[in-house]
Symmetry: C2
Subunit: 368 residues, 2 copies
């Protein structure tokens, strides 16, 4: 018997696992074969944020791109060394089903296209990572969940904060009782949206304004930092409709969530000021993050009465939050378990966002 | 003609002024004669915060105390070198009218006694400084204003933040346009109220819970940092009625104010967590204070996207905010002008607090 190092040993065990599933589902994978992602939609986030992250992944690799811009697709395919069969247009998108390189489709399109491209991916026999917000209505979310379920494919929403070290440590601290009984959460998420031509400002593409884009981080954090689901809410929108940026979607929306334990969460979403912050206050202390949910550089403080101690978080599950997110779906596929931020999680947020918009429109508190 | 130094010169001019008013009102004062304050109610704030401040005043001195505890009154009178005629009980309080040492009565009693002791002070011919909240209802505030007006006496509310250097500089910066168009204000003011026996937790004495005590600082700051009066509001209360501290008054109350310009202010008042903070966000930057409205040690930062620059404020009008506050009323009396935080200011807050309580009770938005 030869001596194997750890890597070889794992590879051998993987080989045995595949062997034991001989003739089984096409999704059976050797544990150390990286799964292939096709990125759909080559906008800023896809190109500048997600695509450069595959080099940080343990289990994921980029194998295809789907774009309406052939030149851009070709250029990026070359940059990332993708084979020619990894370049798709929206016209031949469905033929992705014939590409065994592609295990997962990552939908990075404008919000209103999430449902369609997720459902088509599921029908093509691919697992789906879909950017947040999951869609532009809860009905769409339900259809996406149903389509993936019917196809026997995983669906995960791109909630990167669930893989971000600072946020994970903040959650752990909150759950540990370190700040006593949780009483009050607040968050503001916003930035100055300068360009009136952005698709995010076109309601048909975005489904809504700052809430759909940046406010959803505050909503998410309110839920994961309290560990509860809201039972009532109130929202107020403030938008200068004469501002050319905001003729179709909201600028600022303030929303307050009531949780069963008595915790209140008060959140602001906005396109007219820069802020990225949350604080969870307990009767024995607080946890505060600023910036809270940025791509990098998030910071955390604890204290009884202010930012007394800066906390360094242990590493997250991936070398970056994006790598952790991308690899998580692969691991869920391999182990046939649900992603921690699956379609149901996206649907929950979408129902809350719909209630937030309704409350703001009707100017009244809504019981959920 | 002898040479006079500046002090002598002012004294001489003062003497002339008095001479020219010979036989006039008893309120005519030489400019550098310090005016005398009688402190009514010798609780923590009076004894530990206000009384030690007269040594920092240019125009104010402590001349009398009014207390239901004769020993405490005697002890404090001795400590501050007050004459025997400067010691009053609640029984002989009205005889303060015969004490020419007393120009101003400073009402530091529980909230429910503010109206009665202010009105009696005015009837005794004294000017009044009344602690915040001005009273426990707007009707009481109106009666206090009327009584002082009828007596021809000044009425000022103890809004110390209007004399606090950091807050004054924050207002100046906000008004200067340094952060662009104001969009969003938020503040949390709270502390852990531990002692269930405190008068502040007895509704008959306090009129309300954290809102009446600490939340009013957030309300004040929302108004002075925006420079606007709200046109609508929504409030939500969260109180654990099983907590022995909160059987009578509210613990947490979240309130959101809508201002005519479109600015939103979101504020939290609470007795179950420590926080003292506000932030004003504009489309070109922000001004943030933490702690914001403490007795000492308030700090301010400006930035485009975080706490980028700590700002050192120029000195306020007094050597401390308390000295500035105490001396301001004296100067207003001397110059026969209205205090910058007179009875009308207290009444405005009280009407808003009533609306906040009503909104929380009815769980709906209120148009003001």
């Amino acid at each position: 018997m030869t001596t194997m190092n750890r890597r070889q040993s794992i590879a051998a065990a993987g080989g045995l696992a595949v062997a034991s599933l001989a003739g089984g589902a096409a999704t059976a994978q050797t544990p150390d074969r990286k799964m292939g992602y096709a990125i759909v939609g080559l906008g800023y986030y896809a190109v500048n944020v997600i695509m450069p992250q595959f080099k940080n992944c343990q289990h994921s690799k980029l194998v295809a791109v789907v774009s309406g811009d052939p030149e851009k697709a070709k250029r990026l395919a070359a940059e990332y060394g993708l084979p020619k069969r990894g370049i798709y247009s929206y016209d031949n998108y469905d033929s992705i089903k014939n590409n065994p390189d592609v295990d997962i489709v990552y939908v990075c399109l404008p919000n209103s296209m999430h449902a369609e491209y997720t459902i088509r991916a599921a029908k093509a026999g691919k697992h789906v990572m879909c950017e947040k917000p999951m869609a532009i209505s809860s009905a769409e979310c339900e259809a996406m969940i149903a389509a993936c379920k019917q196809a026997g494919k995983k669906l995960m929403i791109g909630y990167r904060s669930h893989f971000e070290a600072t946020n994970l440590e903040a959650r752990r601290l909150a759950n540990s009782g370190a700040i006593g009984k949780r009483r009050y959460f607040r968050s503001e998420h916003g930035f100055v949206q300068r360009d009136p031509s952005k698709w995010r400002l076109k309601k048909a593409l975005s489904g809504g304004g700052s809430m759909m884009d940046i406010g959803i981080y505050a909503l998410q954090a309110a839920r994961y930092m309290t560990g509860e689901e809201p039972i009532a809410l109130y929202a107020h929108e403030q938008t200068d409709k004469n501002d050319p940026r905001f003729t179709e979607v909201e600028d600022m929306i303030e929303f307050e969530l009531e949780f069963p334990s008595g915790v209140i969460a008060s959140c602001m979403s906005m396109y007219s000021a820069n802020q990225n912050h949350y604080i969870l206050m307990g009767d024995q202390g607080r946890i505060e993050l600023e910036p809270a949910t940025r791509y990098t550089g998030n910071r955390m403080w604890t204290g009884k009465d202010g930012r007394e101690t800066e906390v360094t978080s242990p590493p997250g599950p991936g070398s970056t939050q994006f790598a952790g997110q991308l690899d998580h779906l692969v691991q869920c596929i391999r182990e046939n378990r649900e992603p921690i931020v699956g379609g149901e999680e996206g649907l929950r947020d979408m129902r809350l966002i719909e209630a937030i918009y309704r409350s703001a429109r009707e100017q009244k508190r809504i019981t959920l």
